[in-house]
Symmetry: C2
Subunit: 462 residues, 2 copies
């Protein structure tokens, strides 16, 4: 599927801006570009930028461009790389790409520049994947996690784990070679100790995925409550305030995922639900199943009720809300609940601070009172349940999670076998499986299929 | 409105690609960027690119970037310019822009980099405008016209015209100074000769605007005919075939203007119309007014009828079609008409080649027969009425047209006054007006308002 000896070209910028960059990488990069430039670039020094003109096949000028040359191995791909910065015209970009293909380049597959950098040893697979994460990061926390992964945070840990296990296997193999002599080179207690530590470390990583994933896609917050409790007004109040802050970033989430909001470094994914009736008729309600499904997804559940201390037929008060929450909590204990006593502008302030562990917040969604306090509470909750993403390793990638999960099964199996004093030969099979999966994370072990899976998620020109 | 002594910054690429470029220009450009880079760039040589890291205010790394430095005056704006090429993340781009502003840069207005280049004498106003045209050019002909204008084709002509008129005025002024002595320094016949030549040249340019504008927006082609004649099938047949050719250029016209099609170097703008009834009841028809309006816009009108030599009640044949066309032609003589005898697969081929000057083409829109021939015919028609855009000057800009139109009025007036032997003093007023308008085209005379008008049509970062 991928060839490494040819020269690839792609437009590396999105169309519609003032400038475009066309990137060319491969052994023939400089010669191929030189075929279509007015001024010779074969003598142009590495890491320099010069004005030039692109010529079409009839040697007519197409565009005035800046040409930057990078000589192997000091380039992104470690190959010869040329970057052509053009006026931001889709017509010109496409035309130049066509001319490059006519001169011997091939149009790059998605992520193929990064793939080549990986192949040529510039970084491992987790770092390559981090580049895609870095590009799609929409808030400070995701950016931080992607950046750490790109700088090799995860790689180093994976490599260390793998190193330990390889050493471990080597000792076991040695034992097997001398099996007839019944020599025990490795200390079984020590083996078990290393294994337990590894399992516990991976357990932590697997656990972090829940939060990593929430951070990546936005922490899921479900808003529930009786009809007319003010759920949508609350959502609008939350979103409206931040719109001015979100808008300077062009083309970000708002068009794609409805109702996400970034508060400081954390993105929240708010899900509004159909109003709930009293607990008695819940099962009869259509749409309740969907609300319950959303509750299952949620990390935080905001239960909107009324600040009216004696809720009328139409208004559920704080006490009733808490009763209801207890019913739902049977299903979903992990989530953090918040009781939002809405319409606080209408009723004398009730001083209840919390019911058991459920915090109570008085707001007026309509008058936008208490919204800032809600945001602070949301942030505090997330910061509480999150690992310290400034320093801790956090899994955000489904592929890594799946491979670590498989690794863990084999390690646990190995530990079990150790306890049962099963023969080293059998145990070593599990350790080898674990090593295999670990190696796939960093790409020490890779197949075309794995690579294709990963790099087709990249954008063109990366 | 515009300040020239501060340092401006903007994201010069559209969001969504693999790479972004942030451009900074101004006296402090290097120092401002240096505040946020890990490695010092103040010693970095002009026209070199180096790997670097952007640091946030807490000196944490934000991104690994390539930094290119251009020292004044050898840069696009002739000021110090720095380009930061980042990973294509909107979050990172926005973050870096914020850091630059915190370091003392100002976010650039639309087109402000080009405006600075204009101010600093790198090119004149028509060339600056050509950059915007170059970016938006969607086909080879528009690209060619914009390129020639950018290279100074129009400027040179405008300057030559202006030079002639200035020389002219100078001689007239001299005459005025010596008026009492009744000396005639300039030869009136020569004056009239120059004036006539200038007027005739401008006439040609004004005339070219009709085609320039058609090329820029797409040559307007209206498809008319009775209901069920196959107009929409024809449009689909025309568009469908080319979709594969259009699609490699991402984000171009298709989403913006429905039903445009580029055949070789020419873009056509096809307009489908409601089916026409017989001429008798036209006035009664709703929607006919709109069809007639579209006919007014058209350069080419395709009249779709049936290849059936004796059209039934539902089918209008070639002869009837020609009768109808004659009615419409009273209103719209300039357009080129084509009779398209559709459903040619169903009927024995009629050998009519044309009616008077209206060519007749046999096609089957449904079976996609004759579509290529239609395209060749369309191209030939356009090439016939077009000036040679490989070499001739063509006006494409409404501002230039308006100013030349005003220039022309005053020149014609001056010529008239010459013929009437009016005093040189009065004639010179008209010539001065003409000079004023000519000067505005190239920007030798400009006001903030004119500049604001022009540059707000640019994109950000250009």
């Amino acid at each position: 599927m991928y060839y490494t000896r040819d020269t690839i070209a792609a437009i590396s910028t999105a169309m519609g801006g003032a400038l475009n960059i066309i990137r060319i990488s491969g052994m023939q990069a400089i010669e191929i570009v030189n075929n279509i430039t007015k001024k010779d670039i074969t003598e142009q020094k590495s890491h320099t930028t010069k004005i030039n003109y692109i010529l079409d096949r009839s040697r007519e000028e197409i565009d005035e461009v800046m040409i930057t040359v990078f000589h192997a191995p000091k380039s992104f791909t470690t190959e010869n790389v040329v970057e052509i910065t053009t006026h931001g015209s889709p017509y010109i970009a496409q035309k130049i790409l066509t001319l490059l293909v006519e001169s011997g380049a091939r149009i790059a597959e998605k992520g193929e520049f990064t793939l080549r950098a990986f192949w040529n040893g510039r970084f491992d697979l987790t770092q390559a994947e981090a580049i895609a994460d870095l590009i799609s990061a929409q808030n400070a926390s995701m950016h931080r996690i992607a950046w750490q992964q790109m700088k090799g945070g995860l790689s180093q840990k994976m490599k260390a784990l793998r190193q330990d296990l390889i050493h471990f296997t080597a000792l076991m193999e040695l034992e097997l070679d001398f099996a007839e002599e019944e020599v025990e080179f490795a200390n079984r207690t020590q083996f078990i100790h290393i294994l337990k530590n590894t399992i516990s470390f991976i357990e932590g990583l697997l656990h972090s995925f829940r939060y990593g994933n929430a951070l990546k896609k936005g922490v899921p917050v479900v808003i529930i409550g009786k009809p007319n409790a003010g759920k949508s007004t609350l959502l609008n109040a939350l979103l409206e305030e931040e719109k001015a802050i979100v808008s300077p970033i062009p083309g970000t989430t708002r068009d794609v995922i409805e109702d996400t909001l970034t508060i400081e470094e954390i993105t929240f994914r708010f899900m509004d639900t159909a109003g709930l009736r009293t607990t008695q008729d819940i099962v009869e309600q259509l749409g309740v199943k969907r609300t319950l499904e959303k509750i299952q997804e949620a990390e935080i559940i905001i239960y909107v009720c009324s600040a009216n201390p004696r809720g009328s037929e139409y208004e559920e008060d704080i006490y009733q809300a808490y009763q209801n929450i207890q019913v739902y909590q049977k299903d979903k204990k992990n989530a953090q609940w918040i009781i939002l006593a809405n319409k606080a502008d209408l009723y004398p302030r009730n001083e209840v601070q919390s019911f058991s562990n459920v915090p109570v917040l008085f707001v007026s969604a309509k008058e936008k009172q208490g919204i800032s306090a809600l945001k602070v509470l949301l942030l505090n909750i997330v910061r509480q349940f999150l690992p310290d993403f400034q320093t801790d390793l956090i899994l955000t990638n489904q592929r890594h999670f799946d491979l670590l999960f498989k690794t863990q099964i084999h390690l646990k199996n190995a530990l079990e076998l150790f306890h049962q004093s099963v023969s080293t030969e059998l145990i070593s099979i599990d350790i080898k499986h674990a090593l295999h999966y670990l190696g796939q994370i960093t790409g020490d072990i890779s197949t075309e299929d794995i690579l294709a899976d990963i790099f087709t998620n990249f954008c063109i020109g990366k």
